[in-house]
Amino acid sequence: MTKTRASGRTVGGLRTLSLQAPAVTLLLLWMIVPLGMTIWFSFQYYNLLMPDMAGFAGVENYEYLLTDPALWRAMGNTLLLVGSVLAITVIGGTLLAVLFQQDFSGRGIARVLAISPFFVMPTVSALVWKNMMMHPSNGVLAWLFESVGLPALDWFSALPLTSIVIIVAWQWLPFALLILLTAMQSLDEDQVEAARMDGAGPIAIFFFITLPHLRRAISVVVMIEMIFLLTIFAEIFVTTSGGPGLATTNLAYLIYIRALLDFDVGTASAGGVIAIILANIVAIFLVRMVAKNLAD
């Protein structure tokens, strides 16, 4: 980029800045204002039902939240949910990517069918699974279980968190598949062929060539999924409402209960700060990785 153009206009920071200003300003506001308010509220007594009680609370909201067994239950559920879904989608996605990379009749259509659940809105997937699939008497799964002689399962009362994991994994497995399949296409066929000539079997090729090639894509999948999965909300909202008890309440749902059902702004904000910190731990790694890629 030269400093002046043929037209005589000067080029530099000013024009760049003015063109970027709207986007940067809006995003800055979008980030700073709510974030600042969340942090501010988290140190205040602020309950919409008790307007008289107001003022600086110090760390009391955090103390209240951190000593509440509900928080630890919610944290545990969040970790279980994120961990299980990650394990299923990453392992399943890798295997499926290998499968759908093979040449077979109608592969294009089969791929399209397999990635479809990712484009289904979360409220639809959750309700279709809850009613038509997992309903204890009329669901397809109950019918399947009974036809092989097993007792039908009341999924959401017997295995509430597992049910949520199944629904969320169904939505995110296609995401992992889509990303890993894309990454797979840049795999060097000659290298695979050479390994085969040297007598490597399909399993050896998978572990020593395919998997190392996918490493970077897998870590991207893990981090992006983590950021979304940490705050799964709609799927819980329309199926279990966090119950039975607290069995399916994750951090996001707990904050929602505190804020919009209990109207306890202070505690909810403290929960929000905790969620932000958790997400940022993941985000740092992701941003670093993207930055490295941007430099190439």
């Binding site: 409220t123 279709v128 909202f237 951090l251």
Partner: protein
């Protein structure tokens, strides 16, 4: 499935070719079985939408007389069109504004880069990492105080800001791939920045802009955290409308299915068309 396998059964003479064909048959069966199992809930939902409510909760069967009564009932009883219109307005509105704000920004980043450009891009990406639940309380309170709760405008604002980083990022990668000489030539001929963008950049990168827009539409259409928390009846888009089926469990499966099918069909088709760009946008170019 099995007929597919046997149809490709090879002549017995060439053993190597035969085993390759057998392997191909196994992979075909396996690939299709997996795809059909994953797709099954969507298939079943579409099917249930064409059943009567009684047939919907009966034992699973593929044989039934299809009816459109659920589709009619969904519109007649709950006014499906109103929610669909909200979804369309919010998805297209937010995409329009996101593109409007992002195009100048991405243009500057791609063609007039400074040493801060990379940092700005990464910072934009990092705003996407802020979990929405972390800012639910302040956004809710601000919306309540300025009267944006349950309005389309409110959702459009949120979705515009939510998708802005991805839109800027994607446009930037498309603009960067464009040869700089063309813009330079236009400038030589005395084009202003605005003319340069409108008559050279936009037409030349239209496919990229279109797929960026589609991604933004898909993300807004399917968004269910803000729509559930910030709307109730007036401005509720389809995500929130479908959620209203969650309370009377087991009674309205056919209607739920009909409404859901209409709600996901357009996005499913858009999604199939934009798979590749989707990967680019969702991974911020980290996976190519």
């Amino acid at each position: 499935m099995t007929t597919l396998g046997s149809k490709t059964a090879p002549p017995r003479s060439v053993a190597g070719w035969r085993s390759a064909q057998a392997k191909r048959a196994i992979i075909t069966v396996l690939g299709w079985s997996v795809a059909l199992v994953i797709f099954f809930p969507i298939f079943w939902m579409v099917l249930t939408g064409f059943k009567t409510e009684t047939a919907a909760i009966a034992d699973p069967t593929l044989i039934f007389s299809p009816t459109l009564e659920s589709y009619q009932a969904v519109q007649a009883r709950s006014g499906y069109a109103r929610f669909a219109l909200n979804s369309v307005a919010v998805a297209f509105g937010s995409t329009f504004f996101a593109l409007l704000i992002a195009i100048p920004c991405a243009y500057a980043m791609a063609f007039l880069p400074t040493k801060r450009t990379k940092g700005t891009l990464l910072w934009m990406l990092s705003t996407k990492m802020l979990p929405s639940v972390g800012v639910l309380v302040p956004i809710y309170l601000i919306f309540r105080d300025v009267g944006l709760l349950d309005t389309r405008t409110g959702l459009i604002i949120i979705y515009t800001l939510m998708n802005l980083p991805i839109v800027v990022w994607m446009l930037y990668t498309f603009f960067k791939d464009m040869p700089k000489d063309i813009l330079e030539a236009g400038r030589m001929d005395g084009a202003t920045t605005l003319q340069e963008v409108c008559f050279l950049l936009l037409p030349l990168t239209l496919p990229g802009i279109a797929s960026t827009g589609l991604l933004s539409i898909i993300l807004s259409w399917n968004e269910a955290f803000w729509s559930l928390n910030l709307t109730s009846s007036k401005a509720a888009p389809l995500t929130a409308y479908i959620a209203s089926f969650s309370s009377p469990e087991g009674l309205f499966w056919a209607k739920l299915s009909a409404a859901s099918t209409m709600a996901i069909a357009p996005i499913l088709i858009l999604g199939w068309m934009t798979q590749k760009q989707m990967v680019r946008g969702l991974t911020f170019g980290a996976v190519k």
